[in-house]
């Protein structure tokens, strides 16, 4: 299956390029621009992560090591440029980050890829904790708790581009994002990329057709670490600071969540996931202290009910749409969405109230969804509690109806795709 550049593919890639290029024109505002730059960087990071998980079958809890170390090397390079010690175009800094990432990918990957599966996952956790602790122990290179700061305009102006204004940083990130997407997609079409899939599906059989499974994993690991380093360098340019948090288990968990909710079985899945994740973290964190709880719940729900991510939910609709039968499913989908909205309403109410009540420093008088009430009064507790319960009950019924309708449509279509579980 050499992927031919069909009309559909030109449309997808062209659309992606267009979206990246025009996004700041369509959605204006400083905050939106910040989010979009973060999304572009996260897309690269999440795609690099999926080279491991979705394509290689390697679950890593420590991928931030490679983006973080790439960021550290990039920030030092940038500071050298600022001092005039070396001349290097700042726009190509992500290459420095990528090479640093790949170097450490080779170093740690050699050890990590000796084992597979759950053991590999635990090793990746051990390595990220090790690197995090060592970063704090060596303040000379890593700057200790305060990290290393820099100035992204240090390279001066090239063709009018200084990287001072946020819009220029966005376009730099977007350009690298597009280039990385193409590169990582192209890698999936190479002998290594195909055998990485084979090793994911059946590592034993891959050995019996002549491939050293560990070597395949190792190479995939190094390439993945390269792109992680690219995203790390962009992060360094964007935030102008690199700290130990860049190599933390927390950040590693973040990219895992992003890639997974987007959908690991699909190449574009992590793109969707990165966008959703940045939106969650960026936009939602301003509204509620409990945003991480909501993100966690969303993640767990996806793991249990849609392990193929948002991309899989979309992909499942394609045969339905092609045969024109989406109309039959739409009412049940809308009912389920409505039930979910009710449940979420109740949940948010309860959670926000718990936060108010448990934090003695906050006044119990609160406003939510336009309503003002007292967090210790009985009425709002009962109200939100019942809403939550009602929402969950409705959701149960609605999802059963969706399943039934789905099965009916699949029966008509010949049922190639798996039905959703209730």
């Amino acid at each position: 299956m050499g992927v031919p550049m069909t009309r559909g593919r030109w449309a997808t890639w062209g659309g992606a390029a267009l979206a990246l290029a025009l996004a700041p024109q369509v959605i204006s505002g400083g905050f939106a621009l910040t989010l979009m730059t973060q999304m572009a960087i996260m897309i690269i990071f999440a795609l690099s992560y999926n080279m491991l998980l979705g394509q290689g079958g390697m679950l890593s809890f420590g991928h931030a090591v490679y983006s973080g170390l790439g960021a550290y090397f990039a920030v030092h390079a940038l500071n050298l440029v600022a001092k005039g010690a070396i001349g290097y175009p700042v726009s190509l800094l992500p290459l420095v980050g990528g090479l640093a990432g790949a170097l450490f990918g080779a170093l740690f990957g050699w050890v990590s890829t000796r084992r597979a599966g759950t053991t590999f996952a635990m090793i990746s956790l051990g390595i990220v904790e090790l690197v995090y602790a060592m970063v704090l122990m060596l303040p000379g290179f890593f700057g200790g708790e305060g990290g290393i700061s820099t100035n992204r305009t240090a390279g001066g102006a090239h063709l009018g581009v200084t990287l001072g204004p946020a819009i220029q940083v966005y376009y730099l990130a977007a350009a690298w994002c597009f280039a990385s997407m193409i590169a990582m997609f192209a890698l999936t079409q190479t002998p290594l990329g195909r055998m990485a899939n084979a090793v994911r599906d059946n590592p034993e059989r891959a050995e019996f057709v002549g491939y050293d499974t560990q070597h395949v994993r190792f190479l995939q690991f190094v390439l993945s670490a390269f792109f992680a380093g690219v995203s790390g360098a962009l992060s360094c340019i964007n935030y102008e600071i690199v700290t130990a948090e860049n190599v933390s288990a927390v950040r590693s968990g973040g990219v895992l969540v992003a890639a997974f909710i987007g959908g690991t079985p699909f190449f574009f899945g992590p793109v969707i996931g990165a966008i959703v994740y940045v939106f969650f973290v960026g936009a939602l964190s301003g509204f509620s202290q409990a945003w991480l709880l909501y993100l966690g719940l969303f993640f767990v729900v996806m793991v249990l009910y849609a392990p193929g991510g948002i991309a899989s939910l979309i992909a499942m609709q394609f045969p339905v749409i092609r045969s024109g039968r989406l109309r039959e499913l739409l009412p049940s989908y809308l009912a389920a969405a409505g039930a979910a909205a009710v449940a979420i309403l109740g949940l948010v109410g309860v959670v926000e109230m718990i936060y108010r009540v448990s934090d003695a420093s906050l006044s119990p008088q609160m406003t939510l969804f336009g309503l003002t009430f007292h967090a210790r009064a009985a009425a709002p507790w009962i109200g939100f509690g019942l809403t939550l319960a009602a929402g969950l009950a409705l959701l149960r019924g609605a999802s059963r109806r969706v399943s039934a309708r789905w099965r009916a449509v699949q029966a008509v279509l010949g049922g190639a795709a798996p039905g959703r579980r209730a």
Binding site: G117, A121, G126, M137, A249, F260, V303, L304
Partner: protein
């Protein structure tokens, strides 16, 4: 000499606490094939439940209530969560427990806030047990070790002497056969999972007041437990035991020592000055490097003996 002895006792008691955690994790992994990423989260829940219970009814009832509550929660988690993830494979199960760890930490933030809570050692257990040449060994450390040993002996007895233990041991290797013989294997899974996390919670009850009880305790201890399990050999209880003691002693000793590589070089006549390349590295004290040692041990083990101390070869 007195230093070595005291640190050894401290190290062993800490190692036993670690083994309480690692053993529950290993049992669940051996039986169900899933590594519970949220295992240390139940350790944290045990500490917080015990704190809350001890504030309301005192420490001694809390010692019983907290692990039982955590075990109950664990059974619900298995029944309604893990079981759902099971058909999707081991990665999905691991990811479910990973998400669960997030949720537990956020729930703790929600209910008890983001700073540490004052979970105290009960006065009757506070104080020195005995003195060895001037240094005191606390009663509570001895109590911790006692609880750990008692729990492990009970588990061994349950697994080898009772009917349910026999069923569990059989289901460890042949769940299908055991189910065909009429035993409710899903219920066995639920009980074992609940028991495993209950064990973690018990460790939290006795560990939470000896060390600190704050929302970060799961994230701090979790990776060490996984290192123990990997170093000891995945699925090996004996390996986990040795690895727990080794790492317990390693951490305890190194935190108390200020040795530096520069001192070692000096013994061989090599002086380390501020001009020496990587001078910072040679001047790092062992006490500073202590947090990294378990991970370094794991990496060393992976290079020299990938299957761990007592693990079986993969594949």
């Amino acid at each position: 000499m007195d230093f070595v002895l005291v640190q050894l006792l401290n190290g062993i008691s800490y190692g036993l606490l670690l083994f309480m955690l690692a053993s529950g994790l290993t049992l669940v992994f051996s039986l169900m094939g899933v590594l519970n990423f949220a295992h240390a989260s139940f350790y944290m829940l045990g500490a917080y439940f015990a704190y809350q219970a001890s504030v309301l009814v005192g420490f001694w009832p809390a010692l019983v209530i907290a692990p039982l509550a955590a075990a109950g929660l664990g059974m619900l988690v298995e029944r309604f969560g893990l079981r759902r993830a099971h058909p999707h494979g081991h990665v999905a199960e691991l990811l479910f427990t990973f998400g669960l760890a997030y949720l537990v930490e956020e729930a703790v933030h929600l209910i008890w806030g983001r700073s540490a809570v004052n979970y105290k050692i009960p006065p009757e257990l506070d104080g020195p047990l005995f003195s060895i040449m001037g240094t005191q060994f606390p009663v509570y450390r001895g109590f911790m070790a006692l609880i750990a040993v008692a729990m492990l002996v009970s588990i061994w007895l349950v697994l080898t002497r009772t009917r349910i233990g026999l069923v569990i041991t059989a289901a460890l290797t042949h769940p299908g056969t055991v189910e065909a013989l009429g035993h409710n294997v899903p219920r066995v899974f639920m009980l074992v999972f609940g028991g495993g996390v209950g064990l973690a919670a018990l460790a939290g009850v006795v560990g939470g007041n000896a060390f600190v009880t704050d929302p970060g305790m799961a994230a701090a201890l979790g990776p060490i437990i996984f290192v123990i399990v990997v170093t000891g050999g995945m699925g090996s209880l004996a390996g986990a035991f040795y690895a727990s003691l080794i790492i317990g002693c390693l951490v305890t000793f190194s935190v108390a020592l200020d040795w530096r590589l520069a001192d070692l070089f000096a013994r061989f006549g090599l002086a380390v000055t501020p001009q020496t390349p990587l001078a910072t590295l040679w001047n790092i004290k062992l006490s500073q490097a202590a947090p990294t040692l378990p991970y370094l041990l794991m990496v060393l083990m992976l290079i020299l003996r990938p299957r761990g101390l007592m693990g079986t070869r993969e594949g």
